[in-house]
Amino acid sequence: MSKISLTVNGRSISKEVSDNTLLVEFIRENLRLTGTHVGCDTSQCGACTVHVDGKSIKSCTMLAVEADGSQITTIEGIANGELHPMQQAFNDNHGLQCGFCTPGMIMAGIDMVNRYKASNKPLDEAAIRGELEGNICRCTGYHNIVRSIADASTKM
């Protein structure tokens, strides 16, 4: 067991965790933030995507102890009074069906838009599709996810 201190969605947290607890388990089971999902056991699906120090990370690929001292944002932490433009864009463009992949898609989408904006690169359809390589959706055929992210990118 180790004690870790970190910030999750703006709240400071200190907790004992066992050394083999994955960050996603810590988020779901210890913090009971169940918006972050688990869709696979091989780090392929992206349902568990969160932001660690502002970058999108698959939280199943990281141990909770590795997150000691970091700032974590989960899907529960991005709406600020009103929905984040990415959340709103998914609603506006019907970018979700069952909703299971959605938190991961939104977190990956935000990071993607931020990165492209920071480096001044155009985020066109091909770029969005390429960037979504680490996130699987079985429901939407991605058509409306791509449109949602493109739409949000004009509003962020």
Partner: protein, 786 residues
């Protein structure tokens, strides 16, 4: 109101999903939660000679280790298939026994043998690894086409040669005569690849037993919680129905795989009673690959005859369908009544005969997966049509046009009676949208870059709105396939609709509300859809086979009829008018030709205070209805795919995909188009990426996302979805169902486009770069030799 039928209303349910507040089964955690981990067979086929749990039982946190002998000892029944198929020699199907925990024999890798219940998931999994099971390994049978061969391993004693049933549909003599008289016969051999459904939410169950009430609560990832309760109670004897509440909360996709009642739910319920703890199990993705029912897996030989004019004379089909190691709930219906009955497609065929043999193998059970039987039928028909057109030197669109059914109702030779359609209209619309006229120029341009371009068609028809109860009963179904609904107007005038349909991505909370909003001219926000809980909704048959629109909505509509009648009577009484003059408009109830009106809150209040109601009227304002469809509905359409292929690498790019669909009345086109996109996505997966592969020893070789290729965003194009709607005359709203069409129509369009580009028909799904490259090479060698 602007958010009624036909409006592109943004989904009401989205907010909870986009903010992370959706509640899926794995998000449920009860007081003193215990966790289950299953001990699974590593062998495809073996006798179980002993289970030693002593080491596991002593491990930290372990509450109990339970096995199949204890399960059957407690009277828990075998898992059954709910649709009885009779072989052509009038013998019943050979269903082998399936215990939720195997007792003497394991029949596929992943077959559960024991379960560990522990205080934490980690402790349960660790202890499960410490359970020592001794096996006597047996040879395995895996391959569909050879499963009936002499000498093949026998999966179940009561199914000699692994044959479950040998079934036929249609007039064999007439079909043979039609083929014999044909001036051209096209023959084809095709495999329909085995798929893993892969909803992104893995299956999960949380079972809690209340000893004082002797009552069970089960949270589970189900498409049909009432059917789960019925089957768990009536067939598996887990608990009587009134002592079992099944809740399917937010469910992360199903595609068929969450229709069935699996061993894990049964075991969790039973274990919660044994241990007096709430027991939770959540599948890992690896377990999902091993245990979620697979789809498809057909091997088929077919022949279609044509007269000199290109008109079909007869269609003859021989199919072997692999049902895996055990018969899952609807497994027998998929390759029979959901397949052979659709083999006429959109074409006038004077005679059809289909023979289907189903076989046991040492593989995961196979059952309905998005489309269920209809994709297999469509794939076969459309590849045959394309091949025939090429062999006869005809334009493939014109060959289809020549054979389209034009008059309705139309009785096919294989049971179905099509109620309406506009098949040439779908083709016209798709051809225009796909710019077929410009294809030759695009092909030439691609050739100048060294690329191969191809264009492929498919047309499809499916039977949805499953199904008229009496008809399916006469064909062997163990249940009726109606739907139920209850419409509750509250004292404040808002409305709750309780439906037996389940939404796991389909957006019912929005589209169903739109129908009621439209009906009473109320804002969609005033209407709440309640589903997925057997304590709230009295009964329901659930969501599959694109039935929620045609059947579920019809039940709601019927309940609305009754509500409307009572609302009018109350309004007429209070406003001193004739009920015939009362109508709903702008959120109010008004009297024709007057300025008299009442708000829904006033009607609601009057109904519940009951101070001033018409004489003899019961208080309250709540009506229920059961709706049993009079016929299937028949969504149909045309898909056109255009591909570009790099002959050096075999890599296929879909450059344009066009769908022109007829789903009848569209309640919410935004949601309908989303369903089509998702269906085509899965169709592209089947055609180009996905395949479940077993080794000869029955080991699953595609057991994770590292080996099983799921469609990702960069594998797919954007889709052009067009509508050519002909409302169904068979239900009050005219809806047909849209959930499966994309997955049905797209694989043949894609394969026809690829084979058009590479100039050879010898290509099976999935058309991976390596398969396509090899087909190109083989074709070149063949041509060089000629």
């Amino acid at each position: 109101m602007t958010d009624g039928i036909g409006a592109r209303v943004k989904r009401k349910e989205d907010k909870r999903y986009t903010t992370g507040s959706g509640k899926y089964t794995d998000d449920v955690r009860n007081e003193n939660q215990a966790y289950a981990a299953f001990v699974r067979s590593p062998h495809a086929h073996a006798n179980v000679t002993g289970i030693d749990a002593s080491a596991a039982e002593g491990m930290p946190g372990v509450v109990a280790v339970l096995n199949g002998a204890e399960l059957t000892g407690d009277g828990i029944g075998n898992i059954i298939c709910g649709w009885a198929i009779t072989s052509k020699d009038d013998t019943p199907m050979n269903m082998g026994a399936w215990s939720a925990l195997a007792t003497e024999k394991v029949r596929y890798v992943g077959d559960a043998v024991a379960v560990v219940i522990a205080d934490s998931m980690e402790e349960a999994r660790n202890a499960a690894e410490a359970v020592e099971v001794s096996y006597d390994e047996l040879p395995a049978v895996v391959d569909t086409a050879t499963a009936m061969d002499a000498g093949a391993a026998q999966v179940h004693e009561n199914a000699p040669n692994n044959l479950i049933f040998d079934w036929e549909l249609g007039d064999e003599a007439a079909t043979d005569a039609g083929i014999a008289a044909a001036s051209h016969v096209t023959k084809i051999d095709l495999t329909n690849n085995r798929l893993s459904p892969n909803p992104m939410e893995p299956r999960s169950a949380v079972a809690t037993f209340d000893p004082a009430e002797e009552h069970y609560t089960l949270y589970t990832t189900s498409q049909n919680p009432h059917v789960a309760r019925l089957v768990l109670s009536a067939f598996y004897q887990v608990a009587p129905e009134h002592k079992l509440r099944v809740i399917a909360p937010d469910v992360g996709g199903g595609f068929g795989s969450k229709i069935y009642i699996y061993p894990e739910e049964i075991v969790c319920l039973w274990a919660s009673m044994k241990t007096k703890r709430s027991v939770k199990w959540t599948s890992t993705r690896s377990e999902a690959f091993l245990t979620d029912a697979h789809g498809r897996d057909h091997v088929t030989h077919a022949e279609m005859g044509f007269d000199a004019d290109g008109k079909i004379t007869a269609f003859k089909i021989d199919t072997i369908a692999n049902l895996g190691a055990y018969m899952s709930l609807f497994s027998s219906a998929v390759p029979t009544y959901l397949y052979a009955t659709l083999l006429a497609g959109q074409y006038h065929m004077p005679a059809i005969h289909c023979n289907v043999k189903t076989v046991y193998t040492n593989t995961t059970p196979v059952d309905a997966y998005r489309g269920a039987g209809r994709p297999e039928a469509c794939y076969l028909i459309e590849r045959v049509m394309e091949k025939a057109a090429r062999e006869m030197g005809m334009d493939p669109a014109e060959l289809r046009r020549k054979n389209f059914i034009l008059e309705f109702p139309y009785q096919t030779p294989v049971i179905m009676n099509y109620d309406c359609g506009d098949f040439p209209g779908h083709l016209d619309k798709a051809q225009a949208a796909a710019d077929v006229a410009g294809f030759a120029a695009r092909k030439a341009e691609a050739a100048s870059r060294g690329k191969l371009r191809g264009l492929g068609y498919s047309t499809y028809i499916e039977a949805c709105g499953i199904a008229p109860s009496q008809a399916v009963g006469s064909l062997g179904a163990g249940v009726g396939l109606w739907e139920s609904a209850e419409v509750r107007v509250n004292p404040v005038g808002t409305i709750e609709v309780l439906t037996g349909s389940h939404s796991h991505g389909q957006g019912h909370e929005t589209s169903f509300a739109q129908v009621v909003a439209d009906r009473f001219d109320l804002p969609v926000e005033n209407i709440q859809i309640v589903h997925g809980d057997t304590d709230k909704v009295q009964f329901g048959m659930g969501t599959y086979g694109s039935r929620s629109g045609p059947v579920g909505l019809s039940a709601i509509f019927k309940a609305c009829d009754k509500v409307e009648l009572k609302v009018k009577q109350i309004a007429a009484h209070l406003l001193d008018a004739s009920a015939d003059d009362v109508f709903c408009e702008g959120g109010e109830v008004k009297v024709k030709g007057t300025n008299k009106s009442l708000g829904w809150h006033e009607i609601g209040l009057a109904a519940y205070t009951a101070h001033n109601l018409p004489e003899d009227m019961e208080p309250g304002l709540k009506e229920g209805a059961f709706y049993d469809p009079v016929n299937f509905s028949f969504p149909a359409g045309c898909h056109i795919c255009e591909v570009e292929i790099d002959p050096e690498t075999g890599v296929v790019e879909i450059v344009k995909f066009t769908a022109a669909d007829d789903f009848g009345t569209l309640i919410n086109p935004l949601i309908v188009e989303g369903q089509v996109h998702g269906g085509i996505g899965q169709g592209v997966g089947q055609a180009m990426l996905e395949q479940v592969i077993y080794g000869d020893d029955g080991q699953l070789l595609t057991g994770s996302y590292m080996d099983y290729t799921m469609p990702r965003a960069d594998n797919l194009p954007s889709f052009d979805v067009e509508h050519n709607s002909v409302p169904s005359p068979s239900n009050p709203l005219g809806v047909k169902g849209c959930g499966e069409a994309g997955a049905i129509g797209s694989p043949p369009a894609i394969m026809n486009a690829i084979t058009d580009a590479i100039g050879t028909e010898n290509l099976e799904m999935p058309a991976t770069p390596s398969n396509v490259w090899q087909a190109i090479q083989a074709n070149q060698i063949k041509h060089a030799a000629e």
